[in-house]
């Protein structure tokens, strides 16, 4: 290609324009990579992974004669510790109309606030509308940790 005086300014412009676009593009590209990485490095507000649905809590976090609702995947599970220290876990979904049950210390059983359904501490429906007992879950104690898993 024979350099042409007339063309030169245009080529120069072209060259500058291309260099300009290239640099700009490169900068934008680098920015579009760095931005997500920096955002990623910033710790999210929640701070940390939530306790697993399988590992419920520590032994010293649940008192005797009390109950706790644990999230097991997408379903609630009620973990109870009887007055004599036994640990049991049941599905916390009431078999009547799916409300979440609770441990009732004064009644000495598992109670559903919606329609006064009552289950004994073995999950059996003893009074009120619930037609079936609560599904039982396996409770295993590993050291200080209480693990809940599905019953096979």
């Amino acid at each position: 290609m024979i350099p042409n005086d007339g063309m030169k300014p245009v080529n120069e412009d072209k060259r500058d324009f291309l260099k300009w676009i290239l640099s700009g593009g490169l900068l934008a590209f680098v920015g579009s990579v760095i931005y997500p990485v920096l955002a990623y490095l910033k710790p999210p507000p929640q701070g940390d992974v939530e306790v697993s649905s399988v590992k419920a809590c520590k032994l010293n976090e649940i008192e005797k004669d009390s109950g706790k609702i644990i999230k097991f995947g997408t379903k609630p599970v009620i973990l109870i510790r009887t007055a004599d220290g036994q640990l049991r876990a049941f599905s916390a979904t009431c078999t009547h109309l799916d409300c979440t049950v609770q441990f009732s210390k004064d009644r000495g059983l598992i109670w559903c606030a919606c329609h006064n359904g009552k289950y004994d501490l073995s999950g059996r429906n003893v009074s009120g509308p619930p037609p079936r007992p609560l599904d039982e879950f396996r409770v295993v104690v590993q050291g200080e940790d209480i693990l809940i898993s599905k019953k096979t």
Binding site: R15, L18, L22, F29, K71, T74, L97, C99, H115
Partner: protein, 491 residues
């Protein structure tokens, strides 16, 4: 020798013929003799339906009824059984009563399955002696003075059945030997019931023990085949109570069973076989059967629906209803045809029960409360529904939304609790319950919204990044071309 034998034979024949003739003329010799002795069975037997039909003592006891001679009559070889003991008694009855042909011969239209039915019943269990059934036929029907059921003298005539059954079932000491946990107060309770009082006054149409429990095939109430097993019971009550002809003369409707079958309770019990659902006896009582009084309806419903009953009892409606003799729960929910209670019952619009008493010109305060409550619960319902739809949308888009879904349960639960809280008829309490649900639904909505926005953000972000990269790529390509052009020019 032959001659002697043939003479003896002829003599026997003459004697037999004479005997039979005498019998035909003289009748049941057993009876004649025993009557003379003055023993009770023979006195009773004279009134017995079997006697009238021509059955002799030998018909059940065996032996020869035609001869006066005791030895001959009660000869084992002639089939004499003596006084049958234990199951032999019923077997003796069954010899004829379970044989359709025999029964036809006597011109009877009685069923022939009683013995069979008895053997499946709880009364066929072995008695404490261990050698026979608890009950034999004669336990209820008597032994010698048996009369048909329609005969007012019969122990199983409707007006007498009670006493017959109570002979054992009201005897605590006796029942203890078989089933200590079985109550023995049925008779007492029965006497307080509508059936019982009418029965006492002499109405044979009204229900007595056998009407519900059956006569021969009586099973325990826990037995799924029993007439009084909860799933089967409503049909048993309906046998009379849904029969318009039978119930003519009694001032009560006959559509209860039909209505009940359509109700929530009926569908649960009769179709889904949920024995926790109420049968007729759950609300009316079984032995002490009577409709609950107006002031006690909420207590009866409250045996299961405890929360609603408590709320109602402490609400202003309790006094208002009782004063006007309105049947509490039944006023709004019905008695037999109770359908699922939805929001439609609440409020002041078409189909709502509140407007039956509350209007803009009458009981205005209640009108306002009803209107507000309906509005609140409707807003909760639509809020929860929107939240649910948004969660589904986010899930469809592939976003991680399990926590919001979990919270949605609480919003749905608030709706159920609000429906219960209606029964306080207290706007403040109701509002509190609804607000809890609304707050949760709002949280779920914002989380779902955030997830959906994130979805769009990712796509927009990708678009921008792609544009940047494309521009960069093109300019890089042009740059390469330029360098190569320069190189070619240079070389």
């Amino acid at each position: 020798m032959d001659r002697v034998r043939s003479i003896r034979r002829t003599a026997q024949l003459i004697v037999m013929l004479t005997g039979w003739t005498i019998l035909a003329v003289a009748g049941d010799q057993c009876l004649k003799c025993h009557e003379g002795l003055g023993d009770k069975p023979s006195v009773l037997f004279k009134h017995d339906v079997h006697y009238r039909k021509g059955v002799s003592c030998a018909g059940c006891h065996g032996g020869n009824a035609g001869t006066e001679d005791m030895e001959q009559a009660m000869d084992k070889k002639a089939g004499f059984k003596g006084v049958p003991k234990g199951d032999d008694i019923s077997k003796a009855c069954a010899t004829c009563h379970s044989n359709a042909e025999t029964m036809k011969k006597y011109g009877s239209s009685l069923p022939v399955n009683q013995w069979e039915a008895l053997q499946t019943s709880v009364h066929a269990k072995l008695s404490v002696k261990g050698t026979e059934h608890i009950a034999q036929c004669i336990t209820c029907h008597n032994a010698h003075g048996i009369v048909p059921v329609r005969n007012p003298q019969s122990p199983v005539y409707p007006l007498n059945v009670i006493k017959t059954c109570a002979r054992c079932h009201a005897d605590a000491a006796f029942m203890r030997t078989y089933n200590p946990s079985l109550p023995v107060d049925q008779l007492d309770k029965y006497r307080t019931s509508v059936h019982g009082t009418r029965n006492l006054r002499g109405d044979p149409k009204t229900a007595e023990c056998a009407s519900c429990h059956g006569s021969h095939d009586i099973r325990s109430a826990k037995d799924a085949k029993s007439n009084v097993y909860p799933v089967n019971l409503p049909a048993v009550c309906a046998k009379c109570h849904s029969n318009a002809d039978y119930m003519k003369g009694y001032p009560i409707p006959t559509d209860q069973f039909e209505k009940f079958s359509r109700s929530v309770h009926g569908i649960a019990l009769l179709q889904k076989h949920d024995v926790a659902a109420p049968a007729c006896n759950s609300c009316h009582g079984n032995h002490g059967a009577a409709p609950p009084g107006v002031e006690s309806i909420s207590k009866v419903c409250g045996t299961c629906h405890a929360l609603n009953a408590d709320l109602f009892s402490s609400s202003p409606h309790k006094k208002a209803f009782d004063d006007r003799k309105l049947p509490e729960c039944e006023t709004c929910h019905g008695n037999h045809e109770i359908i699922a209670a939805t929001e439609k019952l609440l409020g002041v619009k078409e189909g709502a029960v509140c407007s039956r008493c509350h209007s803009e010109s009458q009981n205005i305060k209640g009108y306002g409360v009803a209107k507000t409550m309906r509005e609140l619960i409707d807003s909760l319902e639509s809020s929860t529904r929107t939240a649910g739809m948004m969660v589904d949308d986010a899930e469809q888009k592939g976003m991680e939304i399990s926590e919001a879904k979990f919270k949605l349960r609480d919003a749905r639960q608030a709706r159920l609790q609000s429906r219960t809280m209606v029964h306080s008829f207290n706007e403040q309490k109701f509002r509190e319950t609804v607000e809890k649900g609304l707050t949760t639904a709002q949280i779920v909505r914002s989380e779902a919204e955030a997830a959906i926005q994130e979805y769009s953000f990712r796509r927009i972000g990708l678009g921008i990044a792609t544009i940047i990269i494309t521009i960069l790529a093109i300019s890089l390509y042009l740059f390469i071309k330029r360098i190569e052009r320069k190189q070619q020019a240079g070389s």
